[in-house]
């Protein structure tokens, strides 16, 4: 049990001033909100320093902004830490994570075509699931386009 508290506490200590909001859902699920400028730094802490595994990312179109959740799994004790980033709806952009790990390549392409978030520095930002001739600006998972 000690071990469990330890890893999330260590993460909290390390990210200290970058944490905007911290939410503990239960023993195994934690949500940490951070600013989008710090994303690469925080991800590097989780992935490289603590050995978290990148599970996936979720792009959500909320009322006022677009949220991206990066879900990281700590396989030694089974926690999931989700980094939450809020983006401006008019110009959603964020740094790409592909330089940290290759697993982010596909999911970023998917979020780009489904929710319309621009990933800066992505090597190959093109359609993954939808056809090449999909109309531009029509994002299936945005609330206003159905």
């Amino acid at each position: 049990m000690n071990m469990k508290e330890k890893i999330i506490d260590e993460v909290k200590n390390k990210l200290k001033d970058k944490i905007v909001d911290f939410f503990r859902k239960n023993d195994k699920r934690y949500y940490i909100e951070i600013n989008k400028q710090n994303i690469i730094e925080c991800v590097k802490v989780l992935f490289e320093d603590f050995g978290f595994r990148f599970s996936t990312a979720t792009g959500i179109d909320c009322e006022n902004n677009i949220e991206i959740l990066y879900h990281f799994s700590y396989d030694k004790t089974g926690e999931i830490v989700s980094l939450k980033v809020k983006l401006d709806k008019n110009q959603p952009e964020i740094e790409s994570l592909t330089k940290v790990f290759s697993a982010a390549e596909w999911i970023e392409r998917e979020i780009w075509e489904m929710v319309g978030v621009n990933f800066i520095g992505h090597p190959n930002l093109k359609h993954l699931l939808l056809p090449e001739d999909w109309p531009e600006g029509k994002y299936p998972l945005r609330e206003d386009v159905i």
């Binding site: 859902k25 239960n26 195994k28 699920r29 949500y31 595994r53 990148f54 599970s55 996936t56 979720t58 959500i60 959740l69 879900h71 799994s73 396989d75 030694k76 004790t77 089974g78 926690e79 999931i80 989700s82 790990f101 290759s102 697993a103 390549e105 596909w106 999911i107 489904m114 359609h127 993954l128 699931l129 939808l130 056809p131 299936p140 998972l141």
Partner: protein
């Protein structure tokens, strides 16, 4: 001269259409481009138009081979959101179904892997024994696939006492069969020569691509959601997680065979518990889903299935994110297949069990003349010829 071999998108043998573009130099694969999306049905968007009970059936229809994994992860996610605990009997039933599915899925993969290296006997045999598992699932749930056993808060159907001996008998009968397959794979010098050192995914690459399931465990990454983050009855039963370290196709095959033993072990423990538990108490009533978010995971036959649910208090999820294990595993082919010969490409691409891909519509096209050189049949033939050659020279 660099040539392109497109594999896919259509492959009569089975399953999802996917498109692999192999860049080859002579016999060697130098690069690979993977194109998916031929199978996109917009489930994530559809899910937000259905209410919570309907979504169970929708996510079941994402994949037919692991048709319990998605509902399993989904109900875990909703129960995580609600923070409820389900009755013990329901937990054991869930685990039983999950493991029965792992058995049939691994037998299916084994057969197809055998077909790809030219051992059609393995294909026919393993599919023959897979039928017995499907029959048991039909006895329990009423359908050979798409069992529809799960619901938020429990399970839909009970496993009555009368059919438990039948399931036990099937498990007992399966053990010698798995022994036979183990012997066929482990002791056969041809399979050793054909699969060892092929399609190696090193531990570093495996971490970089964040692969899951047997693909990760064959590369020496010791992860298994069942053990690391116990859900359903997995916290209360004994089982081992086999881990191997070479990362080649041989190890991936062996891992799956060893896992079948563990599945049989888990099923038997679950059935023992089910015999003792009183029948009937299989669900808790859920009438309201509060606003919030939940994450559910399940170790499917291919690896970790990940579901994220966000609710706003209405009867439909506002966002439902689904990540299937093949999504990360297929991407790792990019490193595993490069550097192989073309005849090894088929089994390497198949070794992650990518809800398989792309038979028969493979054509090799000369970049300059656009002339077809190799068809997928030729590719399988090449693969099978190599096995024949090894057989003769061993």
């Amino acid at each position: 001269m660099k040539k392109i071999i497109p594999i896919g998108p259509y492959h009569p043998l089975q399953e999802e259409p996917e498109f692999f573009k192999l860049y080859v130099d002579g016999e060697k694969v130098v690069d690979i481009e993977i194109e998916i999306g031929y199978n996109h049905r917009g489930v994530e968007q559809l899910s937000t138009t259905k209410h919570y009970d309907q979504v169970t059936f929708l996510v079941e229809r994402i994949c037919g081979i692991c048709s319990t994994s998605h509902p399993f992860a989904y109900v875990n996610a909703v129960e995580d959101l609600l923070g409820i605990d389900i009755p013990t009997r329901a937990k054991y039933i869930r685990s039983t179904i999950g493991e029965l599915e792992r058995l049939h899925s691994h037998l299916l993969w084994l057969g197809l892997a055998g077909h790809f290296i030219g051992y059609n006997t393995i294909w026919m045999w393993s599919w023959k024994y897979r039928e017995n598992v499907c029959d048991i699932l039909e006895v329990i749930s009423g359908n050979r696939q798409h069992y529809s056993m799960f619901k938020v808060g429990g399970v839909r159907k009970d496993i009555p006492k009368e059919i438990i001996p039948q399931i036990e008998k099937m498990c007992d009968d399966l053990v010698p069969v798995v022994d036979m397959f183990k012997g066929a794979v482990m002791d056969d010098p041809v399979i050793h020569a054909r699969l060892k050192g092929v399609g190696v995914l090193t531990k570093e690459d495996a971490i970089k691509y964040c692969v899951v399931g047997p693909t990760a465990r064959a590369s020496g990454i010791d992860i298994d959601v069942r053990r690391d983050d116990p859900y359903a009855a997995y916290g209360e039963v004994q089982f081992n997680v086999p881990v191997l370290y070479n990362g080649d196709v041989f190890d991936k095959a062996v891992i799956r065979i060893l896992e079948m033993y563990e599945s049989i072990r888990i099923i038997k423990q679950c059935l023992d518990k089910l015999k003792k538990e009183p029948e009937g108490n299989i669900e808790v009533k859920v009438d309201f889903i509060p606003p919030g978010e939940g994450i559910g995971r399940h170790e499917a036959p291919r690896g970790e299935v990940f579901h994220y649910i966000r609710s706003d208090g209405s009867n439909r999820p506002v966002r439902h994110k689904i990540r299937a294990p093949s999504y990360v595993n297929i991407a790792s082919n990019k490193v595993a297949a490069v550097g192989q010969t073309i005849s090894d490409a088929a089994i390497t691409l198949a070794s992650v069990d990518p809800c398989y891909c792309c038979t028969e519509r493979t054509v090799a096209i000369d970049v300059n003349t656009k002339k077809e050189i190799l068809t997928w049949n030729d590719l399988i033939k090449l693969s099978q010829q190599k096995t024949e050659w090894i057989k003769k020279h061993i």
